[in-house]
């Protein structure tokens, strides 16, 4: 068991928000079949939202581009899914939430409480939803206010998910910490775009979107490294992790745990594979515990 912001994880791999997190059954499957130590739901908001028109996700040579547009059935519908996930998944279930203001975040968090999530992850970082996500998440004052407001409505741990699309991610991380965040999660996708040259059309229905997968791993490692140095609270690393080597790199940069999103494309049990790989590595190197290598790169000078 691996403890993180008060949650007990069976291993330090976590399903990232928005990936296979639309239904309770899917979250459960990722925990049971996939081997994730915890799962994060799709980001849930105040009202049902259909999201952007398709194409909403494509695979590129080096990663994935998506602009789902925060589709979600609203908290009132989703709390039932949370319950399904929670009762059967046997791992912590984190509810990712979003809103356009601190009040909306609080409304969604309260609305989901009957579903008994184990923690909240605040999505202040989605790069392709007007008025949401990164639109609020690049403003430190808003991030602090939102975090503080969600902390008010429940005693659950609150993770704040950050966008890399800012000049200085540590400023936003510090704001989250000042607001009472129990952890920060870095990174959400990197702003990106692809154009179909035969027609001239941007490929995504939303024209532009967010880059994830292998392409963004070096960006994520750097953000995690900087956040680890700047903050007291744990950093959860996400972005391009698809092997145990990637996970170890992220942990050495300063991550207390890693989230995996796009890599479920290859195989669902990427979580088991990564956590087994980490264990083997720790054994080979003679480390007792994941905690022994968190932030190790900061000591190597």
């Amino acid at each position: 068991m691996y403890s993180l912001t008060g949650l007990e994880l069976k291993n330090p791999t976590i399903l990232a928000a928005g990936v296979l997190g639309t239904t309770g059954a899917s979250l459960r499957r990722v925990a049971l079949e996939g081997g994730a130590g915890a799962v994060v739901s799709k980001s849930i908001g105040p009202e049902p939202k259909k999201g952007h028109p398709n194409p909403s996700m494509i695979k590129l040579d080096c990663g994935f581009l998506n602009a789902m547009g925060l589709p979600n059935p609203s908290y009132s519908e989703f709390k039932g899914e949370l319950e399904i996930a929670r009762t059967a998944a046997a791992v912590p279930v984190v509810a990712s939430i979003f809103g356009g203001s601190a009040e909306e975040f609080a409304e969604v968090a309260e609305g989901l409480l009957p579903g008994k999530p184990d923690a909240f992850e605040l999505n202040v970082s989605c790069p392709h939803a007007e008025g949401y996500g990164a639109a609020v998440g690049s403003n430190p004052c808003l991030v602090e206010a939102i975090t503080a407001r969600v902390k008010e409505v429940s005693d659950l741990p609150v993770w704040v998910k950050l966008t890399p699309n800012v000049s200085d991610i540590t400023a936003i991380g510090k704001a989250a910490e000042a607001g009472g965040a129990d952890a920060v999660v870095a990174i959400n996708t990197v702003k990106g775009m692809a154009i179909d040259i035969e027609s001239g059309y941007p490929i995504l229905g939303n024209r532009s979107g967010g880059l994830s997968g292998p392409a963004v791993k070096p960006v994520a490692v750097k953000c995690v490294y900087d956040l680890y140095a700047a903050l007291e609270v744990p950093v959860i690393g996400v972005g391009g992790v698809s092997t145990w080597e990637d996970a170890v790199e992220m942990i050495m940069a300063g991550a207390s745990a890693v989230q995996v999103g796009s890599a479920v494309y290859e195989r669902l049990d990427v979580f088991s594979e990564i956590s087994a790989g980490i264990e083997t590595f720790l054994g080979r190197k003679g480390y007792g515990d994941v905690k022994d290598i968190i932030g190790l790169a900061h000591e190597r000078v």
Binding site: T22, K50, P55
Partner: protein, 259 residues
């Protein structure tokens, strides 16, 4: 993958509401039952079964399909795929029963042909609202036996495909492949369940697809979280037992909607 650009080489009017678009790219390795994501640029991208290695057969139902119906020979659209798992091919000599409703013919016509080519004995029950909506009659009858039903009795037996199915000895068939509107598939499922044959049948499901590559989770089925786009779209009857199939689906936001 980025969408391929394909040019339309032929348009076949299959019925008042259904057209086949033949394009200049051949998916050599596609299995019958696999699908592609069809990008009507500027509008939407929607899933379509491959009705042959270089065609899709589209029923006009809304925005994207209407946009496709505006296209002419020489026009182009985007295509990514093929994705998902198709129908299981029979062994030589095996008997195959195909139950096709409406535009569910699209993946089943190439399946019928592949079955015949691999030496299986094919029988198809083809249903539609009325005679004019029957699609791929020739393809199915050339591949084997063909029974037709229409809701209004304008051709074949008046009624539903289940009427023919009920009269057959389903245990004779090594493979049973089903595609059509979900209420029709659910009815077929129930008939086969009653006969104790549902585990061997395969059903091609429709759910709302976003990513189509098994990442986003939009298309997951209760209660096991199977992804229609990646683990399907073709599922065995066994995988569907006690599932949401026939009961509810989800819209683009993820809300449950009754079938």
């Amino acid at each position: 993958m980025r969408p391929l650009n394909v040019n339309i080489e032929g348009i076949i009017e299959e019925s008042p509401s259904t057209r086949t678009f033949v394009f200049d790219h051949c998916f050599e390795a596609a299995e019958p039952g696999q699908f592609v994501m069809v990008w009507a640029r500027g509008v939407d991208e929607v899933p379509m079964g491959l009705s042959s290695r270089n065609s899709i057969t589209v029923q006009k139902v809304g925005e994207a399909t209407s946009k496709l119906f505006e296209l002419k020979i020489g026009d182009s659209f985007g295509l990514r795929g093929p994705y998902g798992h198709g129908f299981t091919l029979p062994s030589p000599g095996e008997k195959v029963l195909i139950v096709a409703g409406g535009v569910g013919v699209a993946p089943l016509a190439p399946y019928a042909e592949a079955c015949q080519a691999s030496g299986a004995e094919v029988r198809t029950i083809l249903g539609a609202r009325s005679a004019s909506e029957l699609v791929f009659k020739e393809r199915f009858s050339e591949a084997g036996l063909l029974d037709i039903t229409t809701d209004d009795g304008t051709e074949g037996t008046k009624g539903f495909v289940t009427m023919i199915l009920e009269g057959l000895d389903a245990s004779e068939y090594g493979k049973i492949a089903v595609c059509g509107p979900e209420p029709m598939m659910a009815a077929v499922f129930n008939v086969l369940k009653g006969k104790g044959e549902v585990e061997r049948a395969e059903f091609s499901l429709h759910r709302y697809f976003k990513c189509a590559i098994g990442v986003c989770g939009a298309c997951c089925l209760d209660p096991y979280g199977l992804r229609v786009c990646k683990d399907g779209p073709v599922f065995s009857g066994e995988q569907l037992l006690d599932s949401e199939f026939g009961k509810y689906t989800r819209d683009a936001s993820g809300r449950r909607v009754k079938i």
